[in-house]
């Protein structure tokens, strides 16, 4: 038995790899699956093109994994045309090292006539100079997490949510079990190894393994725009920077990101100032972007790790490697059978998992090769056409869908996209509360409802301008004047 800490891309990836090698596993996740960075990222299946100059190792990993995921996780990958566009001298200067890097990494690149790109993307900067097509794609994080989780449980693995590892036990310096605390209750899981895949929280787990590491966390903000103004992935050609990628996602398009040193695994409070800065960067690719209908902002924390070589250096953060590291704490003088997987990208989660489980196998002394690269993740059940009364109009979510999900309102959000559309819950949250009431009672349903309302507001507030501000003014009127949602408790 191997216990995996963390239910993000890395943790579920490791669990799936273990199961395919015949090793029983339990994932322990403190919140919900995808509650960490894997549910708060930009949604790009990297081709590696972004990294060919500054981080060629990462670039090579990305292109290899990109090809694999398109096959094994087809349901979660959306192929859309994807471009690098040079819009200024920065871009032109970068062009030749970039093309050399692309060649060296073996990433297919093709110049596309500008006229063709501009007619496909009318919002693009008319000063654009050259455009290149690359094999980036859209990665639907929540879909892939669902696939992984379904396949893990079908293979007999266990995913414990709302559970935390509080203690690691050892016998003679070797891992023997962990104590898990779930909703106030504690239990012991006996195991032969522990994998720390806690993402940005990994640094807080390591001391339990009798070791220390220094994380180099950074937060990135993204802005969501309604109406999928652009249906293509657009990268600004140049050294990786802020606000230089637009990724279409469902009915939206997402601009990202920023890169700001951050002290905690929890995402920071979103600031309007940062949103405006991001918007200004976005204007270099899309001059009219300030007039697009903004929906909300969100941010995630990069689980980067400073290895000794670049520790303390004043290197520009984006130049810090995006590559990953597997730590075998037994080899570092800590507890044997304890491992940490850290860094990397969503795109490379599978490779990271494979390398990690290779190390676990060496510890267990039973070598079985990884099969994740050749084993497609199967859909548990194909959801038929949605039927029944519509609860969320923006995203067309029906009552039957919500009942079938059998979870709380936040699960509805990540699985069915409930309350994620242009109205951000103005028209549908109270309906959700009524449905939840019959299951969890008045108090708990009201708490869920108010919590989701606050969660939506936190993302809307920093981008409350133009039509999005009007939408929120309507939400405020509805909350207080129509629904009296805070009851008699004042406002």
């Amino acid at each position: 038995m191997v216990v995996v800490i963390g239910g993000g891309a890395s943790g579920l990836g490791v669990a799936w790899d273990l199961l395919l090698r015949g090793i029983p596993t339990t994932v322990v996740e403190q919140g919900d699956v995808g509650g960490g960075t894997s549910g708060r990222f930009h949604g790009l299946l990297h081709s590696g093109a972004r990294y060919v100059v500054v981080d060629p190792v990462s670039a090579r990993h990305c292109i290899a994994e990109n090809a694999i995921l398109r096959v094994i996780a087809a349901a979660a990958i959306k192929a859309v045309p994807s471009y690098f566009v040079s819009v200024d001298d920065d871009g032109d200067r970068y062009l030749s090292p970039w093309l050399d890097g692309m060649n060296a990494a073996g990433i297919g690149v093709r110049e596309v006539p500008l006229g063709q790109v501009i007619s496909a993307i009318p919002d693009l900067n008319r000063q654009a100079r050259r455009a290149f097509s690359v094999p980036d794609a859209v990665l639907e994080g929540f879909t892939l997490l669902r696939l992984l989780r379904d396949n893990i449980t079908q293979r007999g693995g266990t995913v414990l949510t709302h559970s935390q590892v509080t203690q690691v036990h050892q016998v003679g310096g070797v891992v023997s079990g962990v104590t898990v605390s779930s909703r106030g209750a504690e239990r012991l899981i006996v195991c032969d190894a522990v994998v720390n895949a806690a993402g940005p929280g990994a640094g807080q787990i390591v001391p339990m393994f009798g070791d220390q590491i220094e994380m180099q966390l950074s937060a990135g903000m993204m802005l969501v725009f309604a109406n999928r103004r652009v249906g293509h992935i657009v990268n600004r050609l140049g050294p990786p920077g802020d606000g230089d990628i637009l990724v279409p996602h469902g009915r939206t398009a997402i601009l990202g990101t920023t890169d700001i040193p951050h002290g905690s695994p929890q995402p920071p409070v979103l600031q309007r100032q940062e949103a405006v800065y991001l918007l200004e960067q976005g204007e270099r690719l899309f001059p009219g972007i300030a007039s697009w209908r903004a929906l909300r902002a969100f941010s995630g924390v990069r689980p980067l790790f400073s290895t000794d070589s670049n520790e303390g250096a004043s290197v520009r953060r984006r130049i810090v490697t995006r590559d990953f590291t597997v730590l075998d704490h037994g080899m570092r003088g800590g507890v044997k059978g304890a491992f940490t997987i850290i860094g990397g990208k969503w795109t490379t989660y599978r490779l990271m998992a494979e390398r990690t489980v290779d190390a676990v196998c060496r510890h267990l002394d039973s070598w079985v090769p990884s099969r994740t690269a050749v084993t497609p993740l199967t859909e548990a059940s194909s959801q038929g056409d949605p039927v029944g009364a519509i609860v969320c109009e923006c995203e067309g979510v029906t009552l039957d869908t919500l009942h079938a999900l059998n979870g709380d309102m936040d699960t509805w959000r990540t699985r069915a996209w409930f309350a994620m559309g242009p109205c951000q819950g103005a028209i549908c949250l109270h309906r959700g509360a009524a449905i939840r009431q019959s299951i969890v009672g008045v108090q708990a349903a009201m708490q869920e409802f108010l919590a989701l309302r606050r969660e939506r507001w936190r993302g809307v507030e920093p981008v409350a301008w133009g039509d999005n501000a009007r939408e929120w003014a309507l939400t405020e009127a509805l909350r207080h004047q129509t629904l009296a949602e805070e009851g008699m408790n004042g406002r």
Partner: protein, 392 residues
């Protein structure tokens, strides 16, 4: 050149319509120019006076709260009777007297909340009592079981919930508006009376319906239901588009048109003391009054950096996040061009429940200003009130 009227009202929301009403009642001529519908059809039509005290607790006696402010009780009673009289003329039946205190209405979540002046169709009580909630198939905004549970948990009074079956011709996508049109028809009314009679008991317990009892025929249907079932019948206002607001809007605009008010569809880009300029180049002459709404109505625009701009007057009136999105606005009503309704800041209809009073007072002020010539500049009531409260 375009129309030439005494007054040009920019905006078709409640403030704009009320302004136009005062002018025609004083035999003036009016043009209403607007680029959209305004917010009246987004709410049930109950006019709030002041629902909550500063600490957020519900208020029973709004007159006491207002005290001498903004003219005191006498001025307020005059203002409210103006609305009640107008409603009578529109055929919106109101309780005969202007209430002395706030009464309770039910929200679609099952919460009680205060309000002041409400049409008689509104389900309204003086204190929490018993009633039967009538559920309509497919109306996600009116979940009677959930509402009953919340009402019981918060008021301590138990209520019943019953469900109607689907009528012939019903479709799953029917919203409140579809139901209301259906219940304007003879067939719909017969179906409703028969079915309700069948599913409720014989007690005299009042019935609370969702606000769907017809668009134009609500008074007649409600009267028939009450006679046939021998009990009080009222409606709970639902989220937008709201049938109650739609009823009032239709009747009110018709009433104004019959009195010669011109309705122009257009986007105003600028005003002077005696004209308004439209985006299509057209120019209207007359004294403009801006009733172009707050951020929701489009009269105020939030810029990315947070500034709140009045695009017609070109002024910055506040900024986010320092100001609240629901209470930001101009600090005064009387200026070269008067501003009324939600354009005026310092009031907080969301938090305080004073949207109706905001409309009444600002329209009153602006009317004085343009009818008696431009007067002095006065601070918004938010400023007046907090100063006088501090003195107390």
């Amino acid at each position: 050149m375009g129309a030439n009227t005494d007054v040009i009202v920019v905006g078709r929301g409640p403030a704009g319509l009320l302004m136009a009403t005062l002018v025609v009642q004083h035999s003036g001529t009016v043009t209403i120019v607007a680029d959209g519908q305004g917010t009246l059809p987004l709410w049930g039509g109950q006019w709030d006076f002041r629902n909550y005290a500063d600490d957020g607790r519900p208020l029973v006696d709004p007159y006491q709260w207002w005290g001498d402010l903004l003219g005191g009780e006498l001025a307020w009673r005059t203002r409210w009777s103006r609305v009640a009289t107008l409603w009578h003329e529109l055929g919106v039946l109101e309780s005969p007297d202007i209430p002395n205190r706030n009464r309770w209405i039910l929200s679609p979540l099952g919460h009680l909340r205060p309000t002041y002046l409400a049409p008689r169709w509104q389900w309204c009580q003086d204190q929490p009592g018993q009633f039967i909630l009538i559920g309509f198939p497919g109306l996600a905004d009116f979940s009677v079981q959930a509402m009953a549970r919340v009402y019981e948990a918060t008021s301590g009074v138990g209520v019943q919930a019953v469900h109607l079956p689907t009528p012939p011709g019903w479709r799953p996508h029917w919203t409140a508006i579809n139901w209301a049109w259906y219940l304007d028809s003879r067939a719909g009314q017969e179906w409703l009376i028969g079915e309700v009679d069948r599913i409720i008991d014989a007690s005299p317990t009042p019935l609370a319906f969702p606000q769907v009892l017809g668009v134009d025929g609500v008074e007649a249907l409600r009267e028939r239901l009450m006679q046939h079932l021998g009990r009080v019948v009222g409606e709970v206002a639902l989220p937008p588009p709201s049938v109650g607001g739609l009823r009032i809007t239709r009747r009110w605009e018709r009433w104004l048109k019959h009195r010669g008010v011109q309705f122009v569809t257009g986007h105003v880009t600028g005003v002077t003391r005696d004209s308004a300029k439209l985006a299509n180049g057209r120019q209207l002459s007359g004294s403009p009054v801006l009733a172009s709404g707050g951020i929701l109505g489009g009269g105020l625009y939030a810029e990315p950096a947070g500034n709140i701009r009045d695009p017609i007057l070109g002024t910055i009136v506040g900024s986010l996040p320092q100001d609240r999105i629901g209470s930001v606005g101009h600090r005064q009503v009387r200026s070269t061009v008067p501003v009324i309704g939600r354009m005026v800041g310092g009031w907080d209809p969301d938090r305080h429940g004073d949207g109706g009073a905001l409309t009444l007072w600002t329209v009153d002020e602006a009317f004085d200003a343009i009818w008696t010539g431009l007067g002095t500049t006065e601070a918004a009531p938010g400023v007046v009130r907090s100063q006088s409260l501090r003195v107390k």
